[in-house]
């Protein structure tokens, strides 16, 4: 859905200071980007658990240092732990999509958990976000246009921001 003569989804500038807009220091999703995410999530949600699980498999394969956060898990591909946790990740993303105008509100409890209990170093959110993008790209190549890539990259950046905003 690329608008003629425009830079696709990115030409519309988000309005700051309106209800639901994130703070002036973070990027906001344009209307067009939200539309892309909502419609793609419709497809992704039919395989949400598999997508969440595969993203984690990719994370642990490419970035073995991330396994240090899961000493209590069996992280072998196909393990019950991985599938359960992958489903949790997917569910959280689904919550964020469903409340795309108020991601901070939707993920508030998760944000507190990451800040006070899990304390995952912020650098790792970029790594998981990248692996989620790779997973979605490999499962839905036709949908993963440049505009969709941009929208998802921004969305996951916002989710990562929300999850780390209470760290200090």
């Amino acid at each position: 859905m690329i608008m003629e003569g425009s830079r696709g989804a990115s030409t519309q500038r988000p309005v700051l200071g309106t209800p639901g807009s994130s703070s002036a220091t973070t990027m906001s999703l344009t209307k067009a980007e939200k539309t892309i995410i909502l419609s793609m999530w419709g497809k992704i949600s039919t395989q949400a658990d598999a997508v969440g699980t595969q993203a984690l498999e990719r994370l642990f394969a490419s970035y073995p240092q991330t396994k240090t956060y899961f000493p209590h898990f069996d992280l072998r591909p196909g393990s019950a732990h991985l599938r359960t946790h992958g489903a949790k990740v997917a569910a959280a993303l689904g919550d964020a999509v469903k409340s795309i105008d108020n991601i901070a509100g939707a993920l508030s409890k998760l944000s507190e958990m990451h800040a006070y209990v899990l304390r995952v170093d912020p650098v790792n959110f970029k790594l998981l976000s990248h692996c989620l993008l790779v997973t979605v790209a490999s499962h839905f190549p036709a949908d993963f246009t440049a505009d969709a890539h941009t929208a998802w990259d921004k969305f996951l950046s916002i989710v990562s921001c929300v999850l780390t905003e209470k760290y200090r």
Binding site: R7, G8, Q54, H130, C131, L133, A137, S138, H139, A146
Partner: protein
């Protein structure tokens, strides 16, 4: 960074597809970087029209740049035991003449991985991805090695 033999073989196999002449996604590498991370356009002032997604898509200089980068990756695969040596001159160029922040090499590498995922679909397994991440990380490090 030492990369072992089986990585070389595996990458060699999947890099057959990187033969630029018959890898359509080659054309979109630089395009995808410039669209998804528009601030990277700062390095391409002399590329002409980058004002819209379609302008970027049709820009011949962008396409040519993508080809150049992919050819370099092809060279990287042939020189995996000495990436720093192989990329020394390019590293100096990117520092002294082009003034490119090495963070951009990581961005480009990850965009390449995503394009490969789109192209290979289910074949782009976690293990395949891990090998490519090692390669792009090695190239990024090698390109940054001569910075001063």
């Amino acid at each position: 960074m030492m990369v072992n033999m089986s990585l070389a073989t595996c990458l060699g196999n999947s890099s057959r597809a990187l033969k630029v002449s018959d890898f359509p996604p080659a054309m979109v590498l630089s395009h995808r970087l410039l669209v998804v991370y528009p601030w990277t356009q700062r390095f391409f002032d002399n590329f002409g029209n980058l004002s819209s997604t379609s302008a970027i898509m049709g820009n011949p200089k962008v396409k040519a740049h993508g080809k150049k980068v992919l050819t370099s990756f092809g060279d990287a695969i042939k020189n995996m035991d000495n990436l720093k040596g192989a990329f020394a001159k390019l590293s100096e160029l990117h520092c002294d003449k082009l003034h490119v922040d090495p963070e951009n090499f990581r961005l480009l590498g990850n965009v390449l991985v995503i394009i490969l995922a789109s192209h290979f679909g289910k074949e782009f397994t976690p293990d395949m991805q891990a090998m490519w991440q090692k390669l792009v990380a090695g190239v990024a490090t090698a390109l940054a090695h001569k910075y001063h």
